[in-house]
């Protein structure tokens, strides 16, 4: 049997990984898109109940989280510039800010969910099913599913950012090989875009 080394074709093609990332983002958009479809159908059917249930959510917490995410999106966008300008320290600083803001977002979310749990509101909870109307049950069901799935994406994004920071630090990601940072940025912005729509749909119904 002849022996030969399979030469890996991992030649660096930034354009290919960018398209790959965009295609992946499309799948994520449709994933959340379905939830938005479900949301709009049930909101259409249970208009008043959705208004009533949304009153339980705190607009201020939602707004604070929106601001946090927008700023974190800007810092990671800026970090792609600083990487191109070969400023390693600033790149680490900017991605670090994104990381911290992402964690703050999750902490806020934790307290927000916690206060719902204290009121006996969680998916399939007794309080929910016995005291609230069908529309309100659906609203809170969707609230937990959609913000929960979004939080899961934040966590994945944070893990990605940690990896990128490590690779920037060790010099594996640099101006000519920026795809990993660029793509993590794209992913983070996607999470941002989804929140941009979640915020008015859940917190701004009056």
């Amino acid at each position: 049997m002849e022996q030969a080394k399979h030469v890996a074709h991992d030649h660096y093609d930034a354009e290919a990984s960018k398209i790959g990332m965009w295609l992946f983002i499309f799948t994520e958009l449709l994933l959340f898109g379905v939830l938005f479809v479900i949301y709009s159908v049930y909101r259409y059917i249970n208009h008043d109940a959705f208004l009533l249930a949304a009153g339980e959510l705190d607009t201020t917490v939602g707004a604070v989280n929106t601001v946090i995410l927008l700023i974190s999106s800007m810092t990671i966008a800026m970090s792609t510039t600083s990487l191109q300008k070969r400023n390693k320290l600033l790149t680490l600083l900017l991605t670090g800010v994104t990381l911290v803001l992402g964690v703050v977002f999750l902490v806020n979310k934790y307290f927000e969910w916690g206060s719902k749990f204290e009121h006996g509101i969680w998916p399939g909870s007794e309080y929910l099913i016995e005291n609230l109307s069908q529309g309100e049950i659906l609203f809170f069901g969707l609230y937990f599913i959609m913000t929960g799935l979004h939080a899961l994406h934040i966590i994945i994004g944070l893990v990605l950012i940690v990896v990128v920071m490590w690779k920037v630090y060790t010099g594996k990601v640099y101006a000519e090989r920026a795809a990993l940072l660029d793509n993590s940025g794209l992913y983070w912005h996607l999470v941002d875009i989804i929140w941009i729509f979640l915020f008015p749909l859940f917190y701004l119904i009056h």
Binding site: Y12, D13, A14, E15, K18, I19, W22, L23, F26, L29, L30, G33, F36, V37, S40, V41, Y44, I45, T59, A63, T66, V67, L70, I71, S73, M74, A77, M78, T80, T81, S82, Q84, K85, A175, E176, A178, D182, G185, L186, H189, D192, I193, I196, F197, F199, P200, L201, L204, I205, H206
Partner: protein, 94 residues
Amino acid sequence: MENEKHHIVPYRLYLFVLVALLALTFLSIAITEIDLGSLTVAGALVLASIKAYLVLKYFMHLKYDKPYIVSMVVFVFAIFIVTVIVTFLDYLYR
């Protein structure tokens, strides 16, 4: 296939976009405080769409990308909207 040269976006631009995004956020909060009936939702969604557009165009660099990536993004959003419309053909007329 050479790797295309990166377009370096100035920090300033990102800051402007952020300011615009924050302004739109507060605008949407303000708008939904006023009772505009069914227009409230429409207003909030339009503002959210503008915000998403800004994020896509500047933060996600679509402004500097090749046209075919832009057309893919447009196509995906279009097919999603069509899907929503078709689904509502059922619910609106049931």
